[in-house]
């Protein structure tokens, strides 16, 4: 069987390259998986909107040939909500770092989930504020180091997937930039879901996070992802001690029963018109 190579050029804005990411950064792997997933879904480029906040991850939209919006720090979902509600036929994707999504953008995150608006959000979780040089992030594991937690973090981190489920998202999953094939599959599933879908991707930032936490090369960080990731099903039979320091991967939730916000709005508007 001849394996045809995927034509990334079809979706890349080559005039905007080279990208700003450090060599070995995980963000490019997620970008490639996203492009393959969009291609699998066969969305016309004109119908896709990619909105991001601010940060390394949030630079992604500049490189891809869709309708792209690099918004303000934490606010990708607010722009995404506006355009989705105004033009529901568009496929809207939000890209965020962990700080962007869960610190400054945390309020928008839980409210988008509560509304169950049809947006796919991909959170690039590198446990740190990569762009600003590695300050502590709300997902940073206890005891790890950053430029603002020199003595080890004593703050409890967020679990983005638990938060998304609690807030009302209807598709929730986690993968890593190491598990590129699974990642692509999950993005397809999230994109095809109607409702607010949240995919957390554990990605590596050896520059701002790894260096300060005994993983100074991308290889060490990718090894961390490989070793610490534990599929949901395997985790079921493991004790808390065995799970300590690891994270679950898989699709935690896929709920198709809850009404989606933009279509509920249109339905309401339709009934008003006929009155």
């Amino acid at each position: 069987m001849i394996k045809t190579k995927f034509d990334y050029d079809k979706y890349l804005r080559k005039n905007t390259l080279p990208h700003i990411w450090c060599p070995g950064c995980g963000d490019g792997i997620i970008l490639k998986a996203l492009l393959r997933a969009i291609d699998k879904c066969e969305y016309p480029k004109d119908d896709v909107v990619v909105a991001s906040g601010i940060g390394c991850a949030s630079r992604l939209p500049g490189y891809v040939d869709f309708n792209t919006i690099h918004t303000t720090h934490g606010r990708a979902l607010t722009f995404a909500t506006g355009i989705k509600m105004f033009k529901p036929r568009l496929k809207v994707i939000a890209i965020s770092g962990d700080g962007d999504a869960l610190a400054i953008g945390g309020n928008h995150f839980i409210h988008a989930a509560r509304r169950n608006i049809d947006i796919t959000m991909i959170i690039f979780n590198n446990y740190t504020y990569g762009m600003t040089g590695g300050q502590y992030s709300p997902t940073q594991p206890l005891g790890t180091y950053s430029t603002t937690t020199s003595f080890g973090s004593i703050e409890q981190p967020f679990d983005a997937c638990n938060l998304a489920q609690a807030a009302g998202a209807t598709w929730v999953g986690r993968s890593t930039s190491y598990h590129a094939v699974q990642l692509e599959k999950f993005i397809v599933s999230a994109l095809k879901h109607t409702g607010f879908s949240v995919l957390e991707v554990i990605t590596n930032c050896h520059i701002s996070f790894g260096r300060r936490n005994k993983m100074k090369s991308p290889v060490e960080m990718v090894k961390y992802q490989k070793e610490k990731a534990i599929p949901i099903r395997s985790a079921e039979n493991m004790s808390d001690e065995e799970l300590a320091g690891r994270f679950k991967t898989g699709i935690f939730l896929e709920n198709t029963d809850k009404p989606e916000f933009s279509s509920e709005y249109r339905k309401m508007a339709e009934t008003l018109k006929t009155k």
């Binding site: 804005r13 005039n15 905007t16 480029k45 004109d46 119908d47 909107v49 909105a51 939209p61 500049g62 040939d65 869709f66 309708n67 792209t68 919006i69 690099h70 918004t71 303000t72 606010r75 979902l77 607010t78 722009f79 995404a80 909500t81 506006g82 355009i83 989705k84 509600m85 105004f86 033009k87 036929r89 568009l90 309020n107 928008h108 409210h111 709005y265 309401m268 508007a269 008003l272 018109k273």
Partner: protein, 378 residues
């Protein structure tokens, strides 16, 4: 045809004006004294095919407005005091990315939570300088309910024509009082619509800094794929740190407003021809001023009023010309002295006096008349 005359509230007139202008998107967060605008549009917009959203805060409200505007919506948000402070981040984004939108500020006393139910005019300088970085802004200060309706239509037009956020600054008095309004038919007013660029997608650049013409913003999802960012960007929309690009982009944001000032400016003059004393007043304060000018005239003092309707960009030329003739200028404001700074800067040949009331009470005609008299006798 018989005129369609209605009695309505200032906030209602803004909602009404928005609908006539073709507004099809509102996102906001409740705050006194602006909430009626949201409430009214929440029942009007779904019926006219538009979208109403109550967001989780004012930052997200303006974010949603900008997202919708990128999709081609005529979008508006309304707020007051603390809410307008939160909107500053995205007012800057709208300026930088040149996204049309209308932002209503029904001014109340501040700072902070201040005087939620009482009027002020203390956000005039915030309107110009509230968000960080150099930029120009358009701000309009209606002084009646009727004017609120027509100026809202004009605000939408200007926002699309110049691809800029346009602020409407009313205050608790105008927002909540009821007055007669002549409601126009859509066909009686000029309305600028969102349209597709007149070049095909492969030739489209979302920005143009040098030709002097404002490039129309292509609604997203119609075949024109481009990039929008709050970073300084070139004409293609992509970030750039080239000196030349930075210079062109920065200049353009100011030039596109100031070089078109004659199209954007709007003001009203009352008995200024032979005036010895000029009162410069705007918004609700201009109503008391008109009365005070008449009182002064009756008492034999030649007073007149200049009333900016577009307050930003400021009518510098008009003030400077009036200053050549009129040597005493009074500026009554419901703040500690904001527009007076612009008057002092432009009325170089006149003596400038302030009258500042910040008690949450309107400035009365008597107060203004007393000040006119005092100045006349000085």
């Amino acid at each position: 045809m018989a005129k369609n005359i209605k009695l309505m509230q200032g906030n209602e007139a803004i909602a009404e004006g928005a609908i006539i202008a073709g507004c099809n998107f509102f996102a906001g967060y409740p705050i006194t004294p602006s909430s009626e605008i949201a409430e009214l549009l929440s029942s009007k917009l779904p019926k006219t095919g538009g979208v109403f959203l109550q967001m989780e805060d004012e930052i997200s409200a303006l974010g949603a407005v900008l997202g919708a505007a990128l999709g081609g919506a005529k979008a508006i948000t309304a707020s007051s005091g603390p809410g307008i402070s939160l909107k500053q981040e995205h007012i800057g984004y709208a300026s930088m990315s040149e996204i049309p939108c209308v932002i209503v500020n029904v001014m109340r006393g501040g700072p902070s939570t201040g005087l939620p139910t009482l009027p002020a005019q203390s956000d005039i300088m915030q309107a110009k300088w509230g968000t960080h970085g150099d930029h120009a802004i358009i701000a309009i200060v209606p002084s009646s309910v009727n004017e609120s309706l027509y100026e809202t239509i004009r605000a939408f037009n200007l926002s699309i024509k110049y691809r800029t956020p346009v602020l409407i600054l009313t205050d608790e008095i105008i927002g909540h009082m009821r007055e007669k309004v002549v409601v126009p038919d859509k066909s009686d007013v000029d309305i600028i619509d969102v349209k597709l660029p007149d070049v095909p997608p492969e030739e489209y650049n979302p920005y143009n800094y040098t030709s002097g013409a404002v490039t129309p913003l292509a609604p997203m999802g119609e075949g024109y794929r481009y990039h929008v960012t709050g970073l300084i960007h070139g004409e293609t929309g992509f970030p750039s740190q080239k000196t030349e690009t930075i210079k062109n982009a920065q200049n353009w944001l100011i030039d596109k407003i100031y070089k078109n000032i004659e199209d954007i400016e709007k003001f009203d003059e009352f008995q200024t021809e032979d005036a010895d004393i000029l009162v410069v007043a705007y918004g609700s304060t201009s109503r008391s001023t008109r009365q005070a000018v008449m009182m002064a005239r009756t008492a034999g003092i030649k007073a007149g009023m200049f009333r900016p309707i577009t307050i930003w960009p400021f009518p510098e030329k008009q003030i400077s010309n009036l200053s050549k003739r009129i040597k005493k200028i009074l500026v009554p404001e419901m703040n500690m002295g904001q527009i007076i700074l612009e008057i002092q800067r432009n009325a170089c040949e006149s003596q400038v006096y302030g009258l500042n009331v910040v008690t949450g009470e309107p400035i009365t005609p008597d107060q203004i008349y007393a000040k006119i008299k005092e100045i006349a006798e000085s």
